[in-house]
C-alpha cells in the first residue's frame, strides 16, 4: 500500500492555466479553421463569412471536377501506400534497433529519423534532383517513396517508445513455451506494440496527406495531390471550392485521430492500462 495518486491538490490553478491556453489556441487556430467549414456550405458565389445560406454547391463542384477528384485519388493512394511502406519498414527498424547493439548505432538512428530533421524544402529540392535523373518525377511511385520516407521517422519513434514498455521477458516466455522467433513476434510482441504501430501509421498518413512542398516539387501535373491542387487553385483564382476541400482534408485527419483514440482505449481496457 503506497501513498497513492489521489490527492486533492493543485488541480484548480492548473485547470485555470489550461483553459486559458486552450482558449488562446482556439482563438488563433481553431476558429479560423472552423470558419472554413460554414463557408464551404455557403450558397453564395464568393468566399464570405458568415455565409448567407446553405448549399452543397461547392461539394458538387468538387465532385464534378475531374481535376479535383483525380487529386483526391492521388492523395489517398499516396497516403495509403506510403503509410503501409513506412509502417513495415519503420516497425522492422524499431525492432532491430531495440534488439541489437553495435557501434555507430546512434548514427544509423540519426539517418533513419533525418527526414524529420532535414528542412522539407531542402529535401524537396534534393529529391527533385535525384528523381529527375531516375525519371521518377511525376510518378506515383516517386511520391510514395518520398512520403514513406517522411512518415518513417514517426513510425520508428512511436514503435520504439511502445517497445520500450514491452517487457522483454514476455518474448523469453514465448520462446520457453515453444514459440519460434517469428511466432513470438506475431503472437506476443506485435499485439503488444500494435497501439504504437497504429499511432505511427496515423502520423505517417497525415505527413503524406498534409504535404505541400514535396508534392509541389516532385508530383507532375497528372499526379498532383489535393494540397498541391489547392495551392495551384489559390494561385489562379479565388475559388470557394477550396473551402470544401479544406473541410474534407480536416475531416479525414480528425476521423483518423478519432479511430486511433478509440482503438487505443479499447486496447488499454483489454490489457489493463499498461501492457507488460
Amino acid at each position: 500500500m503506497s501513498l497513492d495518486r489521489t490527492w486533492d491538490s493543485p488541480g484548480r490553478s492548473a485547470s485555470v492555466v489550461l483553459f486559458g491556453l486552450a482558449a488562446l489556441v482556439v482563438v488563433f487556430l481553431i476558429v479560423p479553421v472552423l470558419v472554413v467549414i460554414p463557408i464551404s456550405f455557403s450558397s453564395s458565389q464568393y468566399l464570405e463569412f458568415p455565409p448567407r445560406g446553405f448549399s452543397l454547391q461547392w461539394y458538387e463542384r468538387f465532385l464534378d471536377s475531374v481535376e479535383w477528384t483525380s487529386a483526391l485519388w492521388t492523395s489517398v493512394q499516396a497516403g495509403v501506400l506510403a503509410t503501409l511502406l513506412a509502417c513495415v519498414l519503420g516497425t522492422a527498424a524499431a525492432l532491430a534497433l531495440a534488439r541489437s547493439r553495435f557501434p555507430g548505432k546512434a548514427l544509423v538512428v540519426g539517418f533513419l529519423v533525418s527526414p524529420m530533421i532535414v528542412p522539407v524544402i531542402v529535401l524537396a529540392i534534393a529529391l527533385y534532383g535525384v528523381y529527375a535523373k531516375l525519371k521518377l518525377v511525376g510518378s506515383l511511385a516517386g511520391l510514395v517513396i518520398a512520403h514513406a520516407a517522411l512518415g518513417l521517422p514517426y513510425v520508428i519513434v512511436t514503435v520504439s517508445a511502445t517497445l520500450q514498455r514491452v517487457d522483454e521477458r514476455l518474448e523469453h516466455a514465448a520462446a520457453s513455451l515453444g514459440a519460434t522467433p517469428w511466432r513470438a513476434f506475431r503472437h506476443v510482441t506485435f499485439p503488444l506494440i500494435r497501439p504504437g504501430v497504429a499511432a505511427g501509421a496515423l502520423l505517417a498518413f497525415i505527413a503524406s496527406w498534409d504535404d505541400v512542398v514535396i508534392a509541389l516539387f516532385i508530383s507532375g501535373t497528372r499526379s498532383g495531390t489535393l494540397p498541391k491542387r489547392m495551392w495551384e487553385g489559390l494561385r489562379s483564382e479565388i475559388d470557394p471550392t477550396i473551402a470544401a476541400v479544406s473541410t474534407l482534408l480536416v475531416a479525414v485527419s480528425l476521423a483518423l485521430l478519432l479511430v486511433l483514440e478509440l482503438l487505443r482505449r479499447r486496447s488499454a481496457r483489454l490489457t489493463g492500462a499498461v501492457a507488460g
Binding site: R169, A175, L177, G178, A179, R183, H187, A273
Partner: protein
C-alpha cells in the same frame, strides 16, 4: 487433481558449465546432477551466477564451455523454443493481451495441438492450480497469487521435462507466500516434477527444496538438503547466508581429539566440539542464535557467559535479543517468547551454549560481517536484483 499426466520429470545434468562475460567469470565450471522428480534450488546473493546458470539451462545464454543434459541428451545447442522446458518467470511474464485460457493454451497452440485436446489440457492445468473458473479473465484482473498460479499452469500444461523457476514467490506478500509454498510443493510431488529454482531468499529455498546448492562467485559453495546446510554449513558463507549466525574470529589455545579451546579476538574463551582445523591456529566461529540459551541460577553448559541485554525485538512466536558480554562481544540470541515474561532490556542475564553449537572454520578474520548488527553498512552489497 484430475487426470494426472503420464510423464514425470527428467533427470538433468550440468557438466562443467562456464560463462564468461568479457573478462569476468559469471559461472565457473559448474557441475551438478538433479534427479528425476527432484526440487533443487540455486541459492545465492546477486552476482553469484545463479541466474546466469538458469539462463544457460533455458537457452537464453550460450555457455562459454560445458554442456547441459536433460534425460541424458545434450541440449546446449538447441534454441530456447526447442528445449521443452517450462519456466515460471519472476514477475510471471503473463501475456497481458491474452485471457487466462489463451495464456495457458499458448504452448499447446505453438505445438499445433487440435482444439479439443487444447481445451482438455487447459482445463486440466487450470484445475491443477484451482483456477478452473477464471479462464475468461485477463491477467490484470487477477491478484498476484492468481497470476502466479496462471504462470505455473502455463509452464506445466505442455508437460515439460523440466520446470525452471526464477524467484517464484518473490513478488508475493509474506502471507500469500506461505500458502503458495505449500501448494507448489504439493504440485511438484503430485506430478513428480523436476524443478530447478533460483532465489536469493533463504526461506524460499529452505521450505521448497529437496536439495539446495548455495552459490557464491560463480561456484557452488555447498550442496545438500536444507537440514544439512543449516545444521552443518561447510563454510562461513553458507552459515551466514542460510539463517542468522554469530560470527567471531578466534585463535586455538589447545586441542585434543574431540574438543578444543579457542579464544576470540576480544578475549572470550570457548570450548568447541570436534577437531579444530590444524594450522596457524586462526579460526572463524559461527553460532546460531537459537543455540544460545538463557540459564537459570545453577544451570551449566559447556560455555557460559554473563551478559547485559542491549536490545529486545519481539517477533511474536520468538524474541531476538542483542546481548553484550563482558569481553565486549555482541551476541544475538533467539528464544521462544514466554507469555508475559522473559528478560527485558537492561537486564543482567547468564547465557550458555554447548560445545557442539559452535561451528569452527579454518582461516583468519571474522566470518564476513554479514547479518551482524552493529556496523549497519554490513549486508548492503546483497541488494535485490
Amino acid at each position: 487433481m484430475a487426470a494426472a499426466s503420464g510423464r514425470r520429470g527428467a533427470p538433468v545434468r550440468l557438466d562443467g558449465l562456464r560463462k564468461d562475460f568479457g573478462s569476468s567469470v559469471a559461472v565457473d565450471n559448474l557441475s551438478l546432477e538433479v534427479g528425476a522428480g527432484e526440487f533443487l534450488t540455486l541459492l545465492g546473493p546477486s552476482g553469484s551466477g545463479k541466474s546466469t546458470t538458469l539462463l544457460m539451462i533455458a537457452g537464453f545464454v550460450a555457455p562459454t564451455r560445458g554442456e547441459v543434459f536433460v534425460s541424458g541428451k545434450p541440449i546446449t545447442r538447441k534454441a530456447p523454443h526447442e528445449r521443452d522446458i517450462g519456466i515460471v518467470f519472476q514477475h510471471y511474464a503473463l501475456f497481458p493481451h491474452l485471457k487466462v485460457f489463451d495464456n495457458v493454451a499458448f504452448p499447446l497452440k505453438m505445438r499445433q495441438q487440435p482444439a479439443a485436446r487444447i481445451a482438455e489440457r487447459v482445463a486440466w492445468a487450470l484445475d491443477l492450480v484451482r483456477l478452473g473458473d477464471l479462464g475468461s479473465r485477463y491477467p490484470h484482473q487477477l491478484s498476484g497469487g492468481q497470476q502466479q498460479r496462471v504462470a505455473l499452469a502455463r509452464a506445466l500444461v505442455f508437460e515439460p521435462s523440466l520446470l525452471l523457476m526464477d524467484e517464484p514467490l518473490g513478488a508475493l506478500d509474506r502471507r500469500l507466500r506461505e500458502t503458495m509454498q505449500g501448494e507448489l510443493k504439493r504440485l511438484q510431488r503430485a506430478l513428480d516434477l523436476t524443478v530447478i529454482c533460483v532465489t536469493h531468499d533463504q526461506e524460499e529455498a529452505l521450505t521448497l527444496s529437496d536439495r539446495i546448492a548455495v552459490m557464491n562467485h560463480g561456484r557452488v559453495e555447498q550442496l545438500g538438503t536444507p537440514e544439512e546446510l543449516y545444521e552443518r554449513p561447510q563454510t562461513p558463507f553458507v552459515a551466514e547466508f542460510l539463517g542468522e549466525s554469530n560470527a567471531l574470529a578466534a585463535r586455538v589455545l589447545r586441542r585434543d581429539e574431540s574438543r578444543a579451546v579457542v579464544r576470540t579476538t576480544q578475549g572470550l574463551d570457548m570450548v568447541v566440539a570436534g577437531a579444530a582445523p590444524a594450522g596457524e591456529g586462526e579460526v572463524r566461529l559461527a553460532i546460531r542464535p537459537e543455540r544460545i540459551e538463557f540459564l537459570q541460577e545453577g544451570e551449566a553448559r559447556d560455555n557460559v557467559a554473563d551478559a547485559k541485554i542491549d536490545e529486545v525485538v519481539y517477533l511474536g512466536d520468538a524474541v531476538r535479543y542483542l546481548l553484550r558480554i563482558p569481553s565486549g562481544e555482541t551476541l544475538i540470541v533467539k528464544a521462544r517468547s514466554v507469555a508475559g515474561g522473559g528478560p527485558r532490556m537492561g537486564d543482567a542475564v547468564r547465557v550458555g551454549w554447548s560445545a557442539d553449537a559452535v561451528l569452527v572454520y579454518a582461516g583468519a578474520g571474522a566470518a564476513s560481517a554479514n547479518g551482524l548488527p552493529p556496523p549497519p553498512k554490513a549486508g548492503e552489497g546483497r541488494g535485490r536484483g
